[in-house]
Amino acid sequence: MAEPEKDEFTGTMTTGHEWDGIKELDTPMPRWWVWTFYACIVWAIGYMIYYPSWPTLTDHWKGTSGYTDRKALEEELAVRDVERAVWYEKFTSQDINQIAKDNELLNFAMSGGKVIFGENCSACHGSQGSGAPGYPVLADDDWIWGGSLTAIETSIRFGIRSSHDDTRISDMPEFGDDMLEKDDIAEVADYVLALSTGKSDDDANEEGKEVYEEECASCHGEDGEGGRESGAPRLSDGIWLYDGTREAIIKQVTKPSHGVMPTWEDRLDDVSIKQVAIYVHSLGGGE
């Protein structure tokens, strides 16, 4: 570092900083700049008095304004609730099918439903209803309990095999428990597999067909078309709730898994249930 010296051309002192022969002039800053600096300090002091700032031994300085982020949020939410009240009224007073016909209400339901779905449903059903083994895909056109707006709303409100009195419930018997022989189960599994790929016409599996018609057709239908009243899944398509392998089908016939969907009536209000039902309906399978 060089010594400060008087610059030959400007007559200003240098700071003494030098880089490869380039010296820094110690040009005084303009006075208004200093004033601006002081003004900023004054502003900062005022700011610290007005807003919560310093920690004290036991607590902190609350600020003369009494501002907190939580309070600000509460105020915002209160404003939001007032704005939404109009919408809520329309949602509670109307049937879900009417709501979905109103474009404005539909948009409100879609944006709200998306958030509700993300918070409550996507943990099991996947984002945008992509599903998972044991948890139905909600974006396809295969519905166990029906894909109309009303059917979806009912499923959400009362749940499936839930604790609610009006829950949807279906109970496939444990055929492995003294009802069918192991061989029969294997035969019927082959038959169901053939049904799902559309190859059940050939009579190669007479025994399986016989067992199916005797034990399964009453719920799942003669051609495996399923029955929504009893919540019996359609077997004539390639969509499987658990798995479509022979082993998985044998397992399901022997000792069926029964998934549970909780009732949402206690957790979501009426408006939210309608919103999320409309959202699910829009995912791609709505009927």
Binding site: M13, R31, Q128, G284
Partner: protein, 474 residues
């Protein structure tokens, strides 16, 4: 310490107030002219109308923040085309480079808003408080009734000009006639009044108080435009060879130069410098000192141009008795000009061939694809059509590249079809949820390519958008 005798430098520098004296002359006239044109444009532009049809604003120049659109006569810019604004800024920068290389700091001296408004404020100051000497005397003198009312009047007029400036600024962001009525009747929003107050305050502060401080300390432009000068650029300079040694003319003293040391060039300078000290970065190149010196030289019957707006080359030529040259065409100016033309060309081409349709397609990531009960594979897409034409457009949408692909659009076509008809309103973005399904036999890979084919039913304009179609991995 090397300089123990020197006083330590001051920590800050007090603003030395300049009292520019009024002067008449060529450059003063040019300054009045540019001032009138610039202020005229500023105040009049928002009132021009431009018919864009019933649903769009009819203001010729408008930045519609809620639209959000920028309108400039026939040009309409959407937010995603903001690069045109970038282009405009690039154009401005290169234009400044070119102007500076040719004629020095013409922007600073004649057209910069800071200069224009400062000029106006100084003019008002002169009208109310008198010319330079009177103003100095008034400032130094005691607080008298005369001083108080003159100062009060000056600041009042300044504030009125500032409010007019700030008020007009708003007109560029809203329908001028409407917002004017709102502002006057007190019905405009707090935001509007806030911005009026801000621009008013800044005008008053910058043109009334800060003045040359803005150019010297705040503006980056003076700091680096020296690098655009060369010896052929026109700049305001004092011809030292002719003027020195300066002095009051006395009998029998013929050894003096042409400069009579009248100090008028210093008195008229709006930034308060002495041009005879040579080129300084504080000099904004307004050339008022040229007018001042020429007026004295005329009186003394000496040749004009002792302080001159000319190139260093010509100054040296005069000094050495060689012929003067004008050298505008040189590599520096030509390269700036070429850059300027290039950017103008690119922007012009872009604007002429500006597409009035933009398509954005987003494929659903979750679920990637869905098995349908009939065995088909289905993908979901969010399809956005930006219709930049000011009338409703009708399109047909179909799929190309996948055999027997079917599509359906939520709310438009509920059942799978091969082609759908969709409408997008005037100057709007249409968002559609589209599902596409095909038989798994038509798929070859995990991701197949397909195209959305959008045909405008009226113009027949066909737009293909290639997207991926996801299927099972095996």
């Amino acid at each position: 310490m090397a300089d123990t005798k020197e006083k330590p430098p001051a920590l800050y520098e007090k603003q030395v107030k300049a009292y520019p004296q009024r002067i008449k002359g060529t450059f003063r006239n040019i300054k009045w002219l540019t001032l009138s044109v610039v202020l005229g444009l500023y105040y009049v532009l928002p009132w021009f109308r431009w018919d864009r049809g019933p649903s769009l604003p009819n203001q010729a120049v408008l930045m519609d923040m809620s639209g959000p659109r920028i309108y400039f006569f026939a040009i309409e810019i959407w937010p995603q085309e903001i690069y045109y604004l970038t282009g405009l800024l690039v154009l401005g920068a290169i234009g400044l480079f070119l102007a500076t290389a040719i004629a020095g700091r013409v922007w600073c001296g004649f057209t910069c808003p800071q200069t224009i408004w400062t000029d106006l404020f100084i003019y008002v100051e002169g009208l109310i408080e008198g010319d330079r000497n009177k103003r100095i005397k008034l400032d130094k003198g005691p607080m008298t009734v005369n001083k108080i009312w003159r100062k009060t009047l000056k600041h009042t007029v300044w504030l009125v000009i500032s409010i007019l400036t700030g008020g007009v600024f708003i007109f560029y962001f809203a329908n001028a006639p409407e917002i004017l009525v709102d502002m006057v009747t007190g019905q405009a929003s707090t935001t509007v009044y806030g911005f009026v107050a801000l621009t008013t305050g800044m005008t008053y502060l910058l043109a009334g108080m800060a003045r040359e401080q803005v150019c010297i300390y705040m503006c980056p432009w003076p700091r680096f435009q020296g690098s655009m000068f060369d010896e052929d650029s026109l700049i305001v300079t004092y011809e030292e060879w002719r003027g020195e040694p300066r002095g009051k003319p006395k009998k029998g003293l013929d050894s003096l130069g042409d400069c009579v040391d009248c100090n008028l060039c210093v008195a008229v300078c709006p930034v308060g410098i002495d041009i005879r000290k040579g080129q300084q970065f504080e000099c904004i190149g307004c050339a008022l000192c040229v007018d001042a010196c020429d007026s004295i030289m005329t009186k003394l019957n000496r040749p004009l141009g002792l302080i001159t707006y000319d190139s260093i080359t010509n100054q040296n030529a005069r000094k050495n008795g060689k012929p003067q040259t004008t050298n505008i065409v040189r590599p520096r100016t030509m390269s700036y000009a070429a850059m300027l033309l290039l950017v103008i060309g690119i922007m012009g081409y872009g604007l002429m061939n500006r597409s009035e349709l933009e398509i954005n397609v987003q494929r659903d990531r979750a679920p990637l694809f869905v098995h349908l009960s009939n065995g088909d594979i289905r993908n979901g897409y969010t399809f956005k059509i930006l219709n930049m034409v000011n009338e409703e457009q009708t399109y047909t949408l179909s799929i190309d590249g996948l055999d027997d692909a079917k599509l359906w659009v939520i709310g438009v076509a509920p059942d799978p079809v091969e082609q759908v008809t969709i409408h997008v309103g005037a100057d709007q973005v249409g968002t559609f949820r589209i599902f596409v399904s095909v038989s798994p036999d038509a798929l070859e890979e995990h991701f197949d390519d397909m195209e959305f084919v959008l045909i405008n039913t009226k113009t027949g304009e066909k737009t293909e958008t290639e997207v991926a179609f996801a299927g099972p991995e095996d």
